[in-house]
Homo-oligomer: 166 residues x 2
DNA sequence: TTACAACCTGGAGTCAGCTCCAGGTCAAGG
DNA sequence: CCTTGACCTGGAGCTGACTCCAGGTTGTAA
């Protein structure tokens, strides 16, 4: 049982053009052609491609994925090298997720800022009296709010990301 | 107290060129110039820029951030619109984090694949007997492994992301 | 008072990752 | 037989987010 490029594109939710681009870029050297020169993807190919898509989703650049695929072609001698590569990208990805969680914590602070401002009908409630500048201590109110609602996970992330004066 | 573009670049860990690019793109209309035409950033400007950087880190494209900044200039009448924009991007970011967590779960499966292969000295331990194809049922062994070490969080994410035959 | 670093502008260049096109082949349905 | 749609290639074009450059101004420290 084999699949055409169109069927694979469907399965992986990418375009046919993208798959051909990946092939040109050396990501799919294992895909065989039929007599007419058309690509025929096997189930095993799809399995390998899921790993490739995983690396892509993890933010690994195409040329590095190509390196990984090349290593695979070399067989068991490259096992450790491939493992190291995965290990490095696991760390990258963990770091990226943590960064995004901190970004989310800050975004939620701003959301709270606007929730309270919308409720008050004006942003001025967050300004220093008689100015258009945001109270530099405002984050403390939000910290208190997080404590109140018991969201200590967000609080911890927020504390990582904010720096308060004085 | 004001800051030069160089000082701000330092503080925000971006280049001076990037900041000028943001200014051209309409992200920093609030930054004033001194008599010599140089930018002078206030503490309040820095505060606003932290929000901009947050949106940037959240993956919001520059032109959408520019929209947000434009809304801000319109004052309290745009409060709700700004809130809605933040809300939408909070959702995007949450989704993205979840996707990355699933990607991480798959990456860790592959890491386990290579750990065991490296230990065995060959990838063949994961192949169907007498072939070069990965056992389509292999993920079940990994599921069992996750249960064994009690990592139910990763197991749940992994189950989201894998589809097994039969 | 001059050297030099930091700033300014407009605009060109770069890079990754697609995306699209022209021009052609091939298999199946009417 | 003929049309149609999915496939093929090489190569050009596009987009976003910078990044760099030439040519010029400014502020300060020796």
């Amino acid at each position: 049982m084999t699949y055409s490029i169109g069927q694979v594109a469907e399965k992986l939710s990418v375009t046919v053009d993208t798959l051909r681009y990946y092939d040109k870029a050396g990501l799919l050297p294992f895909v065989k052609r039929n007599a007419a020169g058309r690509r025929e993807f096997t189930d095993n190919d799809l399995h390998l491609m899921r790993t490739i898509m995983c690396l892509k989703n993890a933010g690994v650049p195409v040329n590095e994925i190509a390196t990984f695929v090349q290593l695979r072609l070399q067989g068991d001698t490259s096992l450790d090298e491939r493992y190291q590569l995965l290990l490095a990208h696991e760390q990258n990805l963990k770091t990226k997720i943590l960064d995004l969680q901190e970004t989310l914590a800050y975004l939620q602070y701003k959301k709270w800022y606007y929730e309270t401002a919308v409720a008050a009908g004006t942003e001025a409630i967050h300004f220093l009296p008689g100015s258009n500048e945001v109270d530099p201590q405002l984050a403390r109110q939000y910290q208190a709010h997080l404590k109140e609602i018991g969201d200590l996970t967000t609080l911890a992330l927020f504390n990582e990301v904010i720096e308060l004066p004085k």
